[in-house]
């Protein structure tokens, strides 16, 4: 099979729906194993931090969520770009679930960060460079989602969302750098937020497991969202009708 054939097949929502149905159980199993293992290991067996005690354990949710929140924006933007350039249906459909997921993960990382901040620094919120950038990222996600809901036609909504996501992608490094610069200029200097460079392996290994688990979870949730989107958009085609008809019988 040549590459172009493969590419076209990948772009077919029907093919993807059928193929992803086969991947789902494996992916779900991997997600479950990794997340349970990571959580039990991280929360139960990893040693408590010397200074922060047990409260540091929120890192096992916070860091993976933040990872995926950032990666998710690029997933969304790349999907949007592919949709715009090659008019690939599947990529266009992926944008909406990717935006919702990304916003949710950004919110989780902000929320857990606030919870973590309270016992550690004595405050829920500081205007730190990284936190502020995350907040801006959250706003960028919200903008894409709001734009999606504003258009009545889903096709137009996806394309508009794709343009905005691309503009956002160009802007993210600029926003990040300027927020960074702004922070160094103001120098509150009460709280040092640099990551512990020497994390003990016993603490670090569960974190890696959790990050992998979150990646699997992200893929799983994205595929599930994408499948729902495929069914919704292709609901007038014959194969979807047959599928639903069969399920009903």
């Amino acid at each position: 099979m040549t590459f172009t054939q493969w590419f076209h097949r990948l772009g077919s929502p029907r093919w993807f729906y059928q193929a992803s149905g086969k991947w789902l159980p494996w992916l779900a199993a991997a997600t479950l194993i990794l997340l349970v293992a990571g959580l039990v290991w991280g929360l139960g067996f990893a040693p408590a931090d010397a200074k922060q005690g047990n409260s540091f354990r929120i890192i096992y949710i916070h860091v993976p969520a933040a990872f995926l929140a950032l990666a998710g924006y690029y997933v969304m933007a790349v999907a949007g770009a592919i949709g715009l350039i090659w008019k690939m249906k599947l990529a266009e459909m992926a944008m909406r679930p990717a935006a919702t997921l990304g916003a949710a993960l950004t919110f989780i990382s902000l929320f857990t960060g606030a919870l973590w901040g309270k016992p550690t620094w004595g405050t829920y919120w500081v205007w730190d460079a990284r936190i502020t950038s995350m907040l801006v990222l959250f706003f960028l996600y919200l903008g894409v989602i709001a734009l999606h809901y504003a258009y009545t036609s889903r096709d137009a909504a996806t394309r508009a969302g794709a343009v905005l996501a691309l503009v956002g992608t160009v802007n993210i490094p600029i926003i990040y750098k300027s927020v960074d610069w702004w922070y160094t200029l103001h120098q509150p200097a009460t709280i040092k937020l640099t990551e512990a460079p020497t994390m003990h392996p016993a603490m670090f290994q569960p974190l890696v497991v959790m990050i992998l688990g979150f990646y699997c979870f992200y893929a799983l949730a994205l595929i599930l969202g994408l499948r729902a989107e495929i069914l919704h958009r292709e609901r007038r085609t014959r194969w979807v009708r047959e599928l639903i008809g069969e399920d009903a019988v």
Binding site: A150, D155, A156, V167, V179
Partner: protein
């Protein structure tokens, strides 16, 4: 297109004046809400003037394509022989000339109202002149995306505000640095770089967004 837009703006002076009046009115709200004390106001003046300029620019960005969309000029522009981005750039330039430039020229007045230290005025003028142009360019992308949506104004602000943040940071910082007696040339240069970057990309993005907005 540029000349036409300027002429249109001249005929509807009321629309043109609204963002400026807004700019001055919010400036009156700040001392009422916070404190009329000159020392306290002076501390906040650079940031507040910049935030207000940003909001005024945001409010007026909505009208950038709305009129042309309603009377069909935009449809004509899409099929015109000139590339769309040239027309978009012309419209943005007109927008800046009727909004950003007067706003910049009025800013010393606000500086006086908010007792900005004298050292800040040159930086205020320079940073607003560069910054409002960048804001107009970025706002155009949002305006193009939301032009076909009913009540797109609020949505426009949601979309564009995160993109405005770097401009705000560097603009307000330049004024602050000038007030503190530091060299602010470098910060202005960054602001100029942001503007140059926006000039390069934003007309294309806005033109693409217009096509999407109008034809789905």
């Amino acid at each position: 297109m540029l000349v036409r837009d300027l002429r249109l703006a001249n005929r509807r002076r009321g629309d043109m004046a609204n963002p400026l009046i807004f700019f001055v009115m919010v400036a009156t709200l700040v001392p009422l809400g916070v404190s009329p004390e000159a020392t306290r106001l002076a501390v906040m003046a650079p940031g507040i003037i910049w935030v207000m300029a940003l909001l005024a620019s945001l409010l007026s960005a909505e009208s950038l394509f709305a009129g042309d969309y309603r009377d069909g000029t935009l449809e004509q522009a899409l099929v015109a022989p000139q590339p769309l981005w040239v027309l978009v750039l012309a419209k943005i330039t007109a927008h800046w000339l009727v909004m950003g430039l007067p706003l910049t020229l009025m800013s010393p007045l606000l500086g006086i109202m908010l007792s900005l230290p004298p050292a800040g005025y040159p930086a205020l003028l320079a940073s607003l002149a560069l910054g409002t142009a960048a804001l107009s360019l970025l706002g155009a992308i949002g305006a193009a995306l939301t032009v076909a949506i009913r009540r797109g104004g609020l949505l426009l602000s949601l979309i564009v505000m995160p993109l405005y943040m770097p401009v705000l940071i560097f603009g307000a910082s330049a004024v602050q640095q000038a007030v503190d007696g530091m060299a602010y040339g470098g910060t202005l240069a960054v602001l100029g770089a942001l503007l140059a970057f926006a000039v390069m990309l934003s007309p294309f993005a806005a033109a693409g967004a217009l096509r999407v907005g109008l034809h789905g």
